[in-house]
Every structure is written in C-alpha cells, then in structure tokens.
C-alpha cells in the first residue's frame, strides 16, 4: 500500500512534469485562454436563447469555435519574428483580394463581401482586420518616435486605402473598425496631441463628403440613429426594439430563455449583431457588468502581454490587435444600446458566425505567440 502510494506519488509528479512540458510546448496562454473560453460559453448560451432554442445553431457555432481554436493554436505556434519579413506581402495579397471582391465578389444580401472559392467562401475584409495592424506594426516598428510627418502620411495610406475599399463593398461597419484600429495603433505608436486634433478637424470637414458617397441605406441608418422614433416600423425599428429589450431587462433580467423581446422575435438579427440585446434582456444590468468584466479581463491580459513584449513590432502588433478587439466590442454594444449608428459589427466571440470569430481567434493566437515565444534574456 505504502509502496503503491509512493509509486503513485512519484507517478503523479512525473505526469505533472510531462503536462507542464506539453503545456509549455503548446504556446498557449492559460489566463487568456480561460477568458476566451468563458466568453465562448457565454456566447453559446446566449445563442441558444437567441436562436429560439435551436441546437442546430448551437452545434454549428461550437464547430465554428473548434475551427477557430485550431486557427488560434496554429497562430500561437508561429513566433512573430518568423512572419515579420512577410508582412508587406501578406498585406498586399489581402488588399488584392479586397479589390477582387469589389469587382467579382459573390453577391450576398445585395452586398459584395465574399470571395467564393467553390467550397469555401470568406470575407477578405475580415483578413484585413489582421493584415492591417500587422502592416502598421511592421512599418512603424523601426521608425523613430514620435512619428515624423512622412511616416504618418504613409501610415495613413496603409489605413485609409483598405478602409475605403471595404467601405465600397459596402461594409461600413468593418471599414470603420479598420480605420479605428489603425487610428489606435497610431495613437500607441505615439503621435502628438496637435495631430490628433488636426485629424479630428479634418474628419469633421470630410464628413459631408463621405455623406455624399454613402449608400441610401447607410444614410437611413444614420438618420434612424439620430431619431429612431420618426420611423418606428421602418429603419428605426431595430434600434427601438433593441432599446426596449435592454431596458426591460432591469437589474437582473427576465431570466435565461425568458426574454419576451427575444422569443417573440421583436429583436432583429438577434443571433448576430443584436445578440447583446438578447443577453441584457435576459440577464439584466448585473449580467451585463459580468460580461463586461470578462471582456475587460481579456483586454487587460492582452494589454499586459503587449506591454511586456520584447520588441516594438510585437508590442505594436499586440496593442493594435487588442484595440481592434475592443473597438468591435465597443461599436457593437454602442450600436445595440443606441449610442452609435447601426453598422453591421458583430460582438466579438459572442455573435453567431465563423468569419469574425476566426479572425479574432487568430489575433489571440498571435497575442499568445508573443507571450509564449519570449526569448529569455537577462536571466
């Protein structure tokens, strides 16, 4: 008995060692992974309610998660230094694909966002969410800070060209996301306050021009954002119903699967863009705080990884990926809660759908890789 006990004890220790080794080799960040999986669980739970208890959708999303996790795993294995020289090529290719989509892309719901490769259809604009931060990080990492005007100019081109092409698809949501992400990276890279104000001023003067080039339905969305009550059954309907769903949640919500706005189908696109309204109706203000805490935890951990990265490229890369993640989160909730116009931005890791999920999981793979491929210097 004693012998056996000893044996098992030592066995246990060896197993522990082996596991630790395997874990180290997997290049995954435990803390980040916990947060991501937690969000994934949240997402699947809400999706079950939002879809009207459709297990088909839930399994489908779980499969999406599986695929996305594999992508995360693969990206985590590649040290940033490995693909750093290839970044301009990657960026160039994605940009080319974007152009291809605009000219020959498959038509989906009247907008062209997808490239059709027979079996696989995907949105190059999603890839751009990865490629653009990479490109910026690559371009800026050996520049002196604060940035000179010339560098800033080229950075702006890197941001604006893909954003314009995406907007042309038309996918205003993603275009705004890409722009915002780029802006954040510049902010991180270090630009002076004068510049920030200057650019804001430029943007404001550019607004009427942008307005002129916008599609009618995009204009309607903006209109209805400003005064949804003007057209309660038309373009304002989504926002009104979403606000009702959120507001009627109260402190603790109506309970899982008991959101009337949800199961009576008053909420529009409730599995995807408006899934947060479903959640806040059923779990209330407290539930929202809880969800925000998980998001904050993931963002916080990623920012921590970013600050402790060893080189400027990695730092900028991680920073911009996190900010892209945050921007998606902020824009989605802001739009569902009626403080931002309705632009089609999914809630990261929660909304139903594979495309954006895979992109974000890839970026978390990159972030993990930065954390787990640290060279042990100075020790």
């Amino acid at each position: 008995m004693v012998n056996y006990n000893l044996l098992s004890n030592s066995n246990q220790k060896t197993w522990d060692k082996i596991l630790a080794k395997v874990w180290q080799r997997s290049h995954l960040d435990f803390m980040l992974l916990c947060g991501i999986l937690l969000l994934g669980l949240f997402g699947v739970g809400i999706l079950y309610s939002a879809s009207g208890k459709s297990m088909v959708l839930v399994w489908h999303q779980a499969a999406n998660f599986g695929v996305a996790f594999i992508v995360l795993f693969i990206f985590a294995q590649i040290p940033a230094s490995r693909y750093r020289p290839l970044v301009p090529w990657i960026f160039g290719m994605v940009l080319l694909m974007l152009f291809a989509v605009v000219s020959v892309g498959a038509v989906n719901r009247g907008v062209q966002r997808w490239l059709n490769f027979g079996l696989v259809r995907f949105q190059p604009s999603e890839l751009m969410k990865l490629a653009m931060p990479m490109m910026l990080a690559w371009y800026l990492c050996n520049k002196t800070f604060p940035l000179r005007i010339k560098d800033l100019f080229f950075s702006c081109i890197i941001i604006v060209v893909p954003a314009l092409v995406i907007a042309k698809q038309p996918d205003l949501g993603t275009a705004i996301l890409v722009m915002a992400t780029g802006g954040f990276v510049l902010l991180l890279a270090g630009i002076t306050w004068q510049l920030i104000f200057g650019v804001s001023f430029l943007l404001m003067t550019a607004a009427p021009i942008v307005w002129h080039f916008m599609h009618d339905y995009q204009k309607m969305r903006l209109f209805s954002f400003w005064s949804p009550e003007n057209d309660p059954f038309g373009s304002g309907y989504n926002i009104i119903q979403s606000k009702i769903a959120i507001g009627s949640g109260g402190w603790f919500g109506k309970g899982w699967l008991h959101g009337s706005q949800t199961y009576l189908q008053f909420l529009p696109v409730r599995s995807t863009d408006f899934i947060f309204a479903v959640y806040s109706e059923e779990f209330g203000f407290i539930g929202c705080l809880l969800l925000f805490a998980v998001f904050a935890y993931i963002i916080g951990r990623s920012l921590y990884i970013g600050t402790h990265a060893q080189d400027t490229f990695s730092r900028l890369l991680v920073g911009s990926l996190v900010l892209s993640f945050f921007t998606s989160f902020f824009v989605n909730i802001g739009m569902v809660a009626g403080i931002l116009p309705v632009v089609g931005v999914p809630l990261p890791l929660i909304s139903y759908g594979g495309s954006s999920l895979i992109t974000f999981m890839a970026s978390f793979g990159i972030i993990m890789s930065v954390q787990t491929h640290r060279k042990l210097i100075g020790s």
């Binding site: 270090g190 507001g247 706005q261 945050f326 009626g338």
Partner: protein, 620 residues
C-alpha cells in the same frame, strides 16, 4: 557603442510604450464606463418605461364578441338566432399597401366593388376596430382557397362571426326590426368599448330598443403576440357575458295569419290583449326581409327598399297616421253620455244632412242618402250615422271631444317598446292656430266628430283605445316584451304596466256603447255586418271607419262596387275596423287599416276566428 545606444533606445521606447498603453487603458476604461452608464440609463433609470413598452409589444387584447340574445315569441318559437359565418378580416394596421392586398385577394376570393365600398366606409370611421371585415359570409370554396393561399396574406385572417338570422324573415320584421352594420351615427350613442371588433348593432324595432339587453358584455382574450402579430399563446380569457334572451308578447302564428288576411293589400294590423297590454300581433304590409341587413346590406338594395313607392320599411302599425273615420264614434258617444250631454234615449231625426244654425255653408251630408230616420246613440253607432254625431258634437264642443280622446291615449305616443312611433294628432283651436295659423271654426268640430279633418291616429293607438273600451276603461301600456331570460336561466316576466283608467260616472254607459258595437257586427243593419260575415263562434264588438282620401264629398261607409269603379286604386278610401272579442271576457282587441280597400272587417274575422277558435282547438 551602437549596441548600447540601441539598448538604451529600447528601454526608453519600452517605457514610452508602457505610458501610452496606460493612456490607452484609461481611454478604454472611460469608454467602458460610458457603455455602463448607457446601460444603467436604459435598464435601471428607464426600466419602467421600457418594461411597459415590452409588455405592450407582447400583449394584445383580442375582443371576444358576446353572443347576442335570442328572441322568441310568446309560445317559444324562435324569431332571431345567431348563425356562424366565415368572414374575411383585414388587420389594417399591419398592411402597408391595402389596395394591392385587396387586388391580390380578388384573385382567390370574389370581392365585389360593393364589398370594397363597404370596407372603405368602415375604414374611415373614427372608432375603427383592429380587424375590419372585407367580406362576410364566404362560400365553402372561398374558405378553402383562402386557407391554401393564406401564407401570401399576412395580416389577413378568416374569422367565424355570428351572423343574426331571422327564421321567420319578413313575417315578423315589423316588431323585431333588424341588426345592421354600425354606422357613424350609431357610434355616438354607444359605449364604444363594448363594441370593439364588432360590426353589427340593432338598427330598428326591438333589436334596437333592447340593444343593451341583447348585446351582452364584450370579453377579452389576452394573447401574447410575436413581432409578426401572430398569437403565440393565450395568457388569460375574460369571458364575454352573453346577451339576455327575450320573449315577445307576439304570437308569431297570429302574426302570420294577420299578414295572410291582408292578402295582397297594404295596411296594418295591431292585436292587443286588453287584459295586460301585450301586443299579440304587429303587422305592417308590405313587409321586407330583415335577413338582407344582417351581413351588411349594399346601398342599391337598401335604396330600392327605402325609396320604393309602397314603403315596405315604413312601420305602418306604429308610424302611419290615418284619419280615425267613424272609429272615433264610440269614443265620442262615451263622452256625450258620460258628461250628460245626451241621455241614452236622446233621439234625432236624420234627414240625411246637417246644417249649422245661421251658417251660409252648404249642409254636412250623411253617407246614406235620405238619412237614417229616427236615430238614438246606439243606432248612430251601429249604422254609423254621421248626422247624429254632427248634432251632438255641437253640443259637446271640441274641448270635451279632445278630452275623451286624450284620456284614451290618442294624440300622444303609447311608449311601446320600439322607437319608431308617431303620436297622431288630436286637433284643438290652439293646435290649429299654431300649425295652420287659422282660427277654429264650428265646422272643424263637426268634421272632427266623424274622425275626419285633422283627427289622426296610428293603428297602434286605435288598438290601444279599443282595448280600453273592451276593458271598461282599464288601460295598460302596450308592449312587446313578455319576459327576459338572462344567463342564470331565471326567466323574468315583464309585469303589465297599468295606465290611469277611464272611469265613467255610470258604468252602464260602457254597456250601451259596447252593445251598439256588437250590433255593428251582428245586426243586419250594422255597418260591418256583411263584410264581417255571419255566425261567429264568439261574441264580438266592432266599429267600422273610412279614412277619406282627397276629401270626397260624401264619406260612404258602404260603398257599392259601382261607386268604387270609377276611382283609381290608389285614390280609393282606406277602410278601418276596430273590434274586440269575446265581449264578456275580452281576449283580443284589434285595429285594422287596409289601404285603398274596404275589406278591413273581413281581415278582422280571419284573425278572430283563428285566435279564438282555431288556436284554441289546436291547443286542446
């Protein structure tokens, strides 16, 4: 050195980056707080508002129509029932393009321009319902083809509606009236809450008068609806209270007999039970089918009825005012005897004409050339002697004539329980001045005494009056409601409502007049003897009358065929007849008007024979 520089640069950069990251983190936190503030505003601060909006979203109060009360006759024969019919309903608020939807519906259901016209009319109404019917009473084929195509028409639904149906149709409409579509005017007088989602309301007759009783109270089904307006589940049901069933005093068989007795002629019959004022028959002819209205009448059919020259929709029994003719004579005789103006033995010698003293006017003639000879009051009634009544009228004066008529209820509404009623006219000097601006002349009194001139009565008032004579002055409010049966099954009988009786100083006066009226029918010299026919199985008292049209010089109580021949049908006099039977124990009092035809006593015979002989035999 370069390496060192680079290293220094590296740490500097790293610190710089950390600072920026911190700033970014602060920015993110601020944005996060902004979101939380927004959520707080929506979920906590405005919770009540949004919670109410959510409830509003999900709940719909679907009105449940109460079943309209059934109507039976006094013997329990069904007169009005509710039959289920399918109607095509449009939830107007949920349809964006009505025109296109209706055009699409046309491809599967026969929708006439009249349906659309009716639909648009109800669309414009202020108290619009959630569901408006486009077509009522769909055929089986239409129902089937709608269900096949239903998916194409969100917001359109089929509903079973209870449609009023009158099994006896035109036989009974005079009393019953009908229900029809609620019109703009109808909405003004009713509790619109109680008529949500209903289309019909009592329009005329009893259906209108007892609307509140018959209607009942609306119920609600509280249902949860989804965003497309489809009911998901029922939360609760507030059941409607069905309307009360009512029993009428009408004997529908007698009613039918009376209608048939009128044959092809136009006219009115009112039969009353003198013992309680219950109306046994209320007939106006020509009549019409009330079932035309119950699913919404189209304007063409309606106009045809409304503007037809023989006015089928005009209730002759209660609204038409006719000159009394000689039917006024028993009433005046009662007053003359009671006031002592004459005694039963008072006699005149009738030369066939009457002339006022000191008057340059031509004499007033009797219908019988050469007169009736020596005439007392009984003979004057029996033979309908005009000169006798001319004579006593000058002694009585118009005030006393009007007094007795008003005590019998003439000149004012009887307050029967249907709204369509005229009050008739009992002219007085004051009335004449007011209405014609002329003074009252002695001649006015004279022609009033034979029920001509401005003396006007409705058949109902006349029946009510003869019922009071039958009863020796006891009077009852004429009414149509026999009993009410509410949902708890208690059948509440309507108590007869006694009116102030007519008391005579000498009760024997009743017998003098009634005996004279008996002779009207039974004595070969009586004015109704021939037309009523011999040997009735009961004792009967009656009085004939002729309502003069176009002021014939002579009022002929017994016009010969020759005298009638030259006159076009529509200019011939109306014949009136009042009667009651049996004399010793009155069961029925009658007033009959036959337009442009002298057959009124014949009609009475058929009715009395049925009611006092055939019906009794059938019962036994």
């Amino acid at each position: 050195m370069p390496y060192f520089h680079k290293l220094k640069n590296y740490t500097h950069e790293s610190n710089q980056f950390k600072k920026r990251m911190l700033k970014a983190a602060i920015l993110l936190t601020l944005l996060l707080v902004l979101l939380i503030a927004r959520l707080f505003n929506l979920q906590i601060f405005n919770y009540k508002l949004y919670s109410a909006l959510a409830t509003n979203n999900q709940l719909e109060y679907v009105p449940i129509e109460p079943n309209r009360g059934l109507i039976y006759d006094r013997n329990g024969i069904l007169l009005a029932e509710n039959l289920p019919a399918f109607s095509l309903n449009i939830a107007v608020d949920r349809i964006k393009n009505l025109e296109a939807t209706i055009n699409n519906l046309k491809t599967i259901i026969d929708i006439t321009p009249k349906d659309i016209q009716q639909f648009k009319r109800s669309l414009q109404q202020k108290h619009r319902q959630l569901q408006l019917p486009l077509k009522i009473k769909l055929t089986q084929e239409e129902i089937a083809s709608f269900y096949v195509n239903q998916y194409r028409f969100p917001g359109i639904s089929l509903d079973t509606k209870m449609i009023r149906h009158y099994p006896l149709a035109e036989d009974i409409v005079t009393a019953l009236g009908y229900v029809g579509r609620i019109s703009k005017q109808d909405w003004q007088g009713i509790d619109s809450e109680n008529y949500k989602n209903s289309d019909f309301i009592g329009k005329v007759g009893l259906e209108k008068y007892y609307e509140t009783k018959l209607r009942g109270k609306i119920g609600y089904k509280v249902v949860e609806i989804d965003a497309n307006g489809r009911p998901v589940r029922t939360i609760k049901i507030i059941p409607p209270t069905p309307g009360a069933n009512i029993y009428l005093t009408i004997d529908s068989k007698l009613q039918k007999i009376a209608l048939e007795a009128l044959d092809k002629e136009q006219g009115a019959v009112v039969a009353i039970d003198p013992n309680n004022g219950e109306i046994l028959a209320l007939v106006s002819k020509p009549t019409y089918d009330p079932n035309l209205f119950t699913s919404g009448i189209d304007s063409d059919t309606f106009n045809k009825l409304q503007f037809s020259s023989n006015k089928p929709m005009y209730n002759r029994a209660t609204r038409s005012i006719f000159p009394f003719g000689s039917t006024i004579k028993p009433f005046i005789a009662l007053q003359a005897l009671d006031t002592g103006t004459i005694t039963p033995n008072f006699k005149i010698s009738d030369p066939g004409w009457f002339k006022l003293e000191n008057s340059k006017q031509p004499p007033y003639r009797d219908w019988q050339h050469g007169g009736h000879g020596i005439v007392d009051v009984a003979k004057a009634i029996t033979e309908s002697c005009n000169v006798f009544f001319y004579t006593i009228s000058t002694k009585l004066g118009i005030a006393k004539i009007d007094d007795i008529l008003e005590r019998f209820g003439f000149g004012s509404k009887t307050n029967i329980d249907i709204a369509e009623e005229s009050s008739g006219i009992i002219p007085s000097p004051k009335w004449k001045m007011k209405n014609t601006g002329k003074h009252w002349y002695p001649g006015d009194t004279i022609i009033s005494s034979i029920g001509q001139g401005d003396m006007k009565t409705t058949p109902l008032q006349l029946a009510n009056g003869i019922a009071a004579i039958a009863n020796h002055g006891k009077r009852y409010q004429p009414h149509l409601l026999l009993a009410t049966q509410t949902i708890d099954k208690a059948r509440a009988m309507q108590e007869p409502f006694a009116l102030p009786p007519i008391t005579l100083k000498n009760p024997n006066t009743w017998n003098i007049v009634i005996n004279a009226m008996h002779d009207v029918v039974m004595n070969p010299s009586g004015s109704a003897y021939t037309r009523f026919g011999p040997n009735p199985a009961y004792s009967v008292a009656g009085k004939t009358g002729t309502a003069q049209l176009y002021h014939h010089k002579i009022v002929n109580e017994n016009p010969t065929p020759e005298s009638e021949e030259g006159t076009p049908k529509h200019l011939r006099n109306h014949s009136l007849f009042i009667a009651f039977a049996p004399i010793e124990n009155p069961q029925i009092a009658l007033a009959i008007v036959v337009e442009n035809n002298k057959m009124a006593p014949k009609v009475a015979r058929k009715i009395l024979d049925y009611y006092l002989v055939d019906a009794v035999q059938q019962k036994n």
